[in-house]
Symmetry: C3
């Protein structure tokens, strides 16, 4: 069993400061979910700023959602500095496979930076692992969706990729798969409406970085807890919706649910399987 | 009559992927309203990324709200690529007339890129058409407001500008005017509180691009439907407001209303006149 | 007594246009709170755009939250132009002390630009004043918190810094201190949950700039009124929260409360002391 309560309480007790180099689309949501979960956000992406900022933080969240020439350089500088300092670093390869720039940047980051966690949808993770292209924007290709008939193959693939990179791999979607190369966790929490807001993945990455910083003794459990927490928050938020509510209210309710999440809720609603 | 139901259902059925090169002020709202209306957003503005990204999308939304030297270059690259591919391209000339950079960028875009739609307030569209300056920031000059006494002149102006550019022109405000150079639609939906949130125009442009991608057989009707849909959503959102609600809740309710919009609501509440 | 009613009504009557060069994390909230309080926002940060834009505005809000090489240059250009035109300029030195880039940029801005107001937390203001480093990210160091035992020292420090810069200094936190070098106002409005959303400080700076533009005959009173208004809005928003609400709903309620704020609410709930 994953010690969900311990992971949550460590996060709340430590208020980890997370440096985010992230896209400008969902950055506000990332900041607010970091505060909601018990962390604290800093955003900084200038090459002359990122090393100082990552130095005062506990971890680094790199998200390539709206990367550009200037911020790519900053990702490498911050990543190397965080590696030197032994800080956890998370990669969210948004849109890897959808463009050469994104695929190349993500692949080069993996070569030069040691990541504690790589989190993406199946298309993005496959693009990283295979150097292949062809994702449907930043959402997962339907053909890639994890289901009962292909899950064993996806798990084997994720384990290989974890062993190759040394990172905990989190492939998220309707079913989430987390692995550190040995242990595997299959998570079924969440709700389809989470795909109807922008930033569910970005927020999850930012929060996961905070969980990992606060639970460095077991990164695998930290990542699993973060994914379970986000899924349960999505379920709570969906239940709260009234007939006039849509995706905008859902986004608020999701962050609110993370803010109010208790270890009892985690314990009662978690749906996962360890292999 | 505009086939509102058909335009809405085509959008929902096709989930068009829209590439946005847009400002960082309202970008999150643009992404969420694209999801709300039935589309899917991608944001990308680096010169080495935009051609690949626009290639996997159905249409391109160019918004100059916080343009800079780097993103202007990307607008041209993406616009030309989208033209090559025959994808609809929409221009939102935010603040044209308010600065030389904005006016020049918008005018040069119109020269080099074939736009399917140009949507702005009357000051911005006039600045584009006349190369004139003097708008009050990004809101319309009051002296420019469309009213009963000047509407015929505005329509004649919009028709000329449509014929000159080959684009459907949408001049939005309390009264919206849409024309493809021949047909004209005058729309009265909406509520003044829409001017009390940031991004009502940006969101409308993003959504309009999605409507056009999904209804390329009649761009004029697609644009009209989008404007009517946004206006009705504004009315629904306003009616939902309680005594403690202000512009922030209104913004959420607006996006929620787009998310929940039905063809029955469109049919019952549309207020427009075709000329 | 501060003429709160007059300051509020001047703002609502004048709809001051505020040019913001600000971070991409909280920029949407800054735009919406400017609209909520009675102002109007423009965002522009390209070096070829900022002078034209600041020329059509009433005031300039410079926030260094996600500064970069390009936007720093624009801050100087816009600041000098605003000084030439006699427009109020406000500095929010986000994260000063947390990195060399931020500290140096803020210090150089203070040397080259005449600011009407400098607003930050105690760590940031100390970093500016002392050229010292060591803040905890963008939040105030706990060791720096203003309390009964050190408030006289903080006031003396703030007065000195005000006299040295010619700016009204606003040090905000659980207790706010405002001074123009002679007069001092100690404000106790607000709620701790305001530290659980991103952007409370950024929003306050943007709104304060609007208050100052609309009340240039007494910048000190304008700043005090803005801080009191934000604190009261925070109290109103907190009271509105239900058991499922968290920081995301609080953010909406805060902006809503600014939108609906009356001079009666200001008068009844203000908690301040003039020295």
């Amino acid at each position: 069993m994953i010690d969900l309560k311990h992971c949550l309480e460590s996060l709340r007790a430590n208020t980890p400061l997370v440096h985010n180099i992230t896209n400008y689309v969902t950055v506000n949501d990332c900041a607010n979910i970091l505060l909601a979960c018990g962390g604290s956000p800093i955003m900084s992406d200038d090459k002359n700023d990122v090393e100082d900022i990552t130095g005062i933080c506990g971890g680094l969240n790199i998200n390539i959602g709206t990367l550009n020439a200037a911020t790519i350089e900053s990702m490498f500088l911050a990543g190397k500095k965080a590696n030197e300092l032994g800080h956890p670093v998370l990669l969210d390869p948004v849109g890897a496979g959808a463009s050469k720039l994104r695929s190349n940047a993500a692949n080069e980051l993996i070569k030069q930076i040691k990541f504690s966690v790589i989190r993406g949808n199946i298309s993005e993770i496959k693009a990283l692992a295979q150097g292949l292209s062809g994702t449907k924007g930043v959402d997962a290709n339907e053909a890639d969706a994890v289901n009962a008939s292909n899950i064993d193959g996806v798990i084997a693939f994720a384990k290989d990729f974890s062993l190759a990179t040394g990172a905990v791999i989190a492939i998220t979607g309707a079913t989430d798969i987390v692995t550190d190369g040995k242990r595997v966790c299959i998570i079924s929490n969440g709700h389809p409406i989470m795909g109807k807001i922008t930033g569910a993945g970005c927020m999850l990455s930012a929060m996961t970085c905070a969980y990992v910083v606060a639970n460095q003794n077991d990164v695998f459990e930290a990542v699993c807890t973060s994914l379970i927490a986000m899924g349960i928050a999505g379920e709570i938020a969906y239940k709260r919706m009234g007939s006039l509510d849509g995706n905008s209210s859902f986004r608020n309710y999701l962050i609110d649910a993370v803010y109010n999440l208790t270890s009892e809720q985690l314990h009662e609603s978690a749906r996962y399987e360890l292999r």
